[in-house]
C-alpha cells in the first residue's frame, strides 16, 4: 500500500504480510517505519504477519516489535 493510498483510505489497521518475503535487510525497516508513522498519525495500528525468523531478528533490532504486533 502506497503512502498516497494510506492517506486516501485512512485505514484503522495495516497488515503487512511477509509470507512471500525471502530476504530483508534494514532497507525494509525504513519502509516499515515510514508506514508506521503515517498509520500512527491517523490513529491506526500496524501488524506484521507471517514474518520469517531472520526477518523478525532485524525487526527486533530496530525495535519494530515495540511499535507493531509481529506474528
Amino acid at each position: 500500500m502506497s503512502l498516497w493510498e494510506i492517506e486516501r483510505c485512512r485505514p484503522e489497521s495495516l497488515v503487512l504480510d511477509f509470507g512471500e518475503v525471502t530476504f530483508m535487510d534494514s532497507s525494509g525497516i525504513g519502509l516499515v517505519m515510514g508506514r508506521y508513522k503515517v498509520i500512527k498519525e491517523i490513529g491506526g495500528r500496524v501488524t506484521l504477519r507471517n514474518t520469517p525468523a531472520h526477518i523478525k531478528k532485524v525487526m527486533r533490532l530496530a525495535g519494530i516489535d515495540k511499535l507493531a504486533v509481529i506474528s
Binding site: 530476504f23 534494514s26 532497507s27 517505519m33 531472520h54 532485524v58
Partner: protein, 158 residues
Amino acid sequence: MDISVINEMKVTLPAKSCNEAVARAVVSAFAAQMDLSIVELADIKTAVSEAVTNCIVHAYRDRAESGCTIEIMCRILEGNIFLVRIKDKGCGIEDIHKAMEPMFTTAPSEERAGLGFAVMESFMDSISVHSKPGKGTSVTMKKKIFSKSLMRTGAANS
C-alpha cells in the same frame, strides 16, 4: 596466501542495486563450505547486504556512472572463522564513529532507518571500518562458525 587462510574468494561487481542479491548469493555459496547453520548463513547474508547497500546508496551516491565497483573478498580462516571484506572507491566517510551510531542517516527523507552498521555489528562478531574521504571505504567483518555437526553432538550429549 597467509598460512591461516584456508580458502579465499574475490569478486568485483558493478555498484548496481540488482547486485545486492548477487553479492548475497555469491557469499552464501562460498560460506556454505563451512557447515554453517541456517541462522549463521542468514546473519552473514544480512550483514553483506547492509554493506553492499551502503556502497550503492551512500558511497557512490553522486556518481552513478559506470565504473563504480564493489569488491567483495571472503576468507575461511583457521578456527572456523568466516571473514568478509566489502570495499568501494566511493566518497568515503567523514566521521566513522557518527556513521556507526544507530539511527544516524545522511538520507532521512528517503525512509532510511540508519541501521546498516548496527545490523552488521549485531549479526557478526566483529567489524572494522576504514575510510578515506574521497577515496573509499572498506568494511571487514568476522564471524565464528559453530559447526552444525558439533552442535548436534553437543545437543545429544546434554
